[in-house]
């Protein structure tokens, strides 16, 4: 399938169309909404299902010797991408040091929904991928946060020059590391790994047949939220900042593609690794930023990540990353 055909097939997939429905409804100020409790359930379900299925895949195939190398590459990418993002933001925008650090943390970390959307594209294309990449996704959540913290603190001239309670770095790491989404994803992965096919048989209708419909409902909600973010938050962003939300995923994708040349992943696995690097967080990192860098403005980092980069990745990024992966691994 050519890159163009891939892009069209992706744009016409139920996932993207449900996202577009939510986005359109929100921009048109429809009263369509997903209740908070349902949205939380969907997020939990998504973490559980993707983690569990990844664990089962590893139980079936066994631990690949490449796993450690891929994990290490994931951690490095997550830690290094914020350095590039921070530098570009400071050079091209008027964002403060704290805001630039917070935004760059989002781009070093990952979006599990973008990852799920990419896996569904691969399944549609019949491209196999390594199940353990779910665990790689989980370990890529936090290194970016640490890099951003170091950047913000170094630029501020010291660990604590702000008013308020001095932060204990150890407890901050515990709060960030024990973020509910990371715990659910890794915990479900381990449960899937331990129980394997026996476990899969027990929970299959829940995490299997219902999965795609649930993602569509989740993406409808994401569309509604992204639309609200665009409506209210884009005014707070300058054009160079919006441009960053579009070119930064491509820079991260190029870095990941280079790393994948040495990793020995399949074409599907390479596409997922590129997608992980190119995606920007909007679940774990915003919560971490409210604790670690509360002076950073959510209207900037959430709008960029959710209102600019997520729609870009979902509509155009994923087919491009799959095409790039097949190009270098085909």
């Amino acid at each position: 399938m050519s890159g163009f055909d891939l892009a069209i097939a992706n744009l016409l997939s139920p996932m993207v169309l449900f996202f577009a429905l939510g986005l359109g409804a929100s921009l048109a100020r429809s009263d369509l909404s997903v209740p908070e409790a349902v949205a939380k359930f969907l997020a939990l379900y998504l973490m559980m299902a993707i983690g569990f299925k990844g664990g089962v895949a590893v139980a079936r195939s066994g631990i690949d010797a490449r796993l450690l190398g891929v994990m290490l590459a994931g951690i490095l990418l997550s830690a290094v991408i914020p350095l590039i993002g921070f530098t570009l933001l400071r050079l091209s925008t008027r964002l403060s040091v704290v805001d630039a650090a917070a935004v760059s943390a989002h781009y070093g970390s990952i979006s599990i929904v973008t990852f799920v959307a990419a896996t569904q594209t691969l399944i549609t294309l019949d491209l196999p991928f390594e199940g353990y990449l779910v665990a790689v996704a989980a370990v890529m959540e936090t290194p970016a946060i640490l890099t951003a913290l170091v950047l913000a603190r170094r630029a501020a001239g010291g660990p604590e020059r702000r008013q308020g309670e001095p932060q204990d770095f150890g407890s901050l790491i515990r709060e960030i590391g024990l973020n509910g989404s990371v715990v659910m994803l890794l915990g479900s992965f381990v449960i899937g790994w331990i129980t394997g096919d026996r476990g899969m048989k027990a929970v299959e209708p829940f995490v299997g047949q219902l999965f795609f419909g649930m993602i569509c409902l989740f993406l409808l909600d994401m569309g509604l939220i992204a639309g609200r973010g665009m409506r209210e938050g884009l005014k707070a962003l300058s054009w160079p900042a919006i441009a960053f939300g579009l070119y930064m995923p491509l820079i991260s994708a190029a870095l990941a593609a280079l790393a994948c040349l040495a990793l020995g992943l399949s074409a599907g696995g390479t596409a997922l690794m590129i997608t992980l690097a190119a995606s920007a967080s909007y679940i774990a990192v915003p919560a971490a930023m409210r604790l670690a860098l509360p002076e950073a403005k959510p209207s900037i980092y959430l709008t960029l990540s959710l209102g600019v980069t997520f729609p870009f990745n979902l509509a155009l990024g994923i087919p491009f990353y799959v095409w790039l992966a097949t190009l270098i691994k085909g």
Partner: protein, 103 residues
């Protein structure tokens, strides 16, 4: 019915910082507190609503505790150190209670 004057401390704080506030209240040996969900609002940092967020970041909660007037400073000062860096409000008002030994 006889009532007694106490102080009601209301803290509106971002959901991610809730545990820090509750841990501090536990350390301060506050006799009790209540956490309320809040739905939507607008402040200096803009408007927000509970069902418009994909994570807890951006959601707010309200913590209310009632205490003896003599304890207000010992409670509010350490709590303010947490709230001062976050989006949040602390208000202190008079209230009447029926069982003064509970606070």
């Amino acid at each position: 019915m006889q009532t007694f004057t106490k102080k009601r401390i209301a803290i509106v704080i971002e959901q991610p910082a809730l545990n820090r506030v509750l841990e501090k209240l536990d350390q301060l040996a506050v006799t009790g507190y209540t956490v309320y969900p809040v739905i939507a609002g607008r402040g200096r940092e803009g408007s927000w609503r509970a069902d418009g967020m994909v994570s807890d970041a951006g959601r707010m909660v309200s913590v209310v505790c009632v205490c003896d007037p003599a304890k207000v400073d010992t409670i509010v000062e350490p709590i303010f150190k947490i709230v001062s860096r976050q989006v949040g409000i602390i208000t202190i008002s008079d209230c009447e209670v029926i069982r003064p030994d509970h606070f």
